[in-house]
Symmetry: C2
Subunit: 253 residues, 2 copies
């Protein structure tokens, strides 16, 4: 069965999308990967260069129809990486799912209709713990938490952990936090170091040894609709995400 | 009547909370200000030093009870600045408000029960365009949009503008975008400059002349529960937010 990994953290701007697209691309060098954009901002779709007018069929339909349909999966946006896109419609799904039977299982059940096998399915979540993220936590067998090395970002982690525990008890016993990924680490900034130390003290081995540095080439790549490996493979950002992919592949053996 | 300003942008991590607390503190040097933390992360409450156990009565109660009650407003967290706090409960309010009559007007109506007059009421919004942010857009007479100088942040602005237009037509004709504040501007980074230029070309005069630079003292201050003016008044961050307060006060004359 595939590794289904939710990339989630309700704190905004911590690197969920950046981790989702770059980890997916790095994993796709050796494995078959599907990325699901579950955020109505559609940032994963944008950062992989999919034009706004080219997203007619996407995650909104997957949830509302409850199944994959022809043309929904954009094959090979990057070699071995396929994508289900998102756009503003997805914001409506939160409300539309309220009255649906077993609403938290919508995504999990829809993924059983995938026409082919993937080694990894990554889900880029919005900055909230609402119905969409809940669907991701129920569909996933593991959670990757990008954590920006900032004080406010660390504050919110206990809330995320409580939500995961609740989901484990009532909706998905398989779910566990597989990895905490420290992002936007700035070695000139003492606060980065303090947050990293606090996180390691709290989560121990779950914290990845690979730390993602703040690297301007990462956001430049996004403005060209490319993952960092394809934009500048020798940049600190690309090297870090490739090392993260290696570390996680070993972990998941 | 007070200036009621929503600080909103569905993109995460763009500086909504940082702008809310520091602008509120700078305005409070001359005016009476109330800050409402409308985000269940409770980051505004944390960044102003209010302990998690000290938030028993807050914005959740304001919305669910529909009125201000004794002890809900924390007076003088900073001289002339009062605060209504938020905690994890607030996440439940999104769902609880679904079946309520005139659910979008809940905050607007509750604010009519304020026991005293304020010159400014600022509302720190969560990173979404859900029911909480909608309540803020209906209660407000103006919107301040913090915009991080990054490509993905600019992408989402048209979605916000469409939402504002819809709210103006159907729920709050008074609402308009009063100011766009460029945040985390890094002069060494070409992308910052490009985003700033694009924003000025699109929004013209609405873009504040004051640009908030990336300044590590800003996040350090938050780890001590203080606004930047009280942590390091001579820092680039403090100077920028004081200049922003002056610019906006002139604008709102
Ligand atoms: N390591 C990094 N170095 C420099 N910039 C980065 C890095 N990681 C992310 N960024 C930039 O920071 C911003 C926030 O990152 P991103 O959008 O991936 O976060 P997010 O958690 O997905 O945000 P949201 O909560 O809105 O979904 C983006 O503009 C991105 O380009
Ligand atoms: N000008 C700045 N210079 C340096 N760091 C900043 C600046 N403004 C904000 N930050 C830091 O960036 C992070 C994101 O800012 P903030 O939390 O205010 O954004 P937000 O839009 O409120 O996020 P959310 O979407 O989660 O509510 C915080 O850790 C904050 O300390
Ligand atoms: Mg994102
Ligand atoms: Mg905030």
């Amino acid at each position: 069965t595939p590794h289904i990994l939710a990339i989630a953290n309700q704190k905004g701007g911590v690197g969920k999308t950046t981790t989702a697209i770059n980890l997916a691309t790095a994993l796709a060098e050796k494995k078959k990967v599907l990325l699901i954009d579950l955020d109505s901002q559609g940032n994963s779709s944008t950062a992989l260069g999919v034009d706004y007018n080219d997203r007619a069929l996407g995650t909104y339909n997957l949830l509302i129809d409850g199944a994959v349909s022809e043309g929904m999966i954009k094959q090979g946006v990057v070699p071995n990486l396929s994508l289900i896109t998102a756009d503003g419609n997805l914001a409506g799904a939160e409300l539309e799912l309220i009255d649906v039977e077993k609403r938290e299982f919508r995504l999990k059940n829809a993924l059983t209709t995938l026409p082919q096998h993937y080694d990894y399915i990554l889900i880029d979540c919005p900055p909230s713990l609402g119905m969409l993220t809940l669907n991701a936590l129920v569909a996933a067998n593991g959670l990757i938490v990008p954590l920006q090395c900032e004080f406010l970002a660390l504050e919110g982690i206990s809330h995320l952990v409580k939500t995961v525990t609740r989901v484990q008890k009532s909706l998905n016993p398989e779910l566990d936090i597989r990895a905490i990924v420290l992002t936007m680490y700035d070695k000139r900034n003492k606060l980065s170091e303090l947050v990293a130390e606090d996180t390691k003290a709290f989560f121990g081995e779950k914290v990845c040894k690979t730390v993602i540095p703040r690297n301007i080439r990462i956001s430049e790549a996004q403005s060209y609709g490319k993952p960092i490996m394809l934009y500048d493979r020798r940049s600190a950002g690309a090297v870090a995400y490739m090392s993260l992919a290696k570390e996680l592949t070993r972990r998941f053996q």
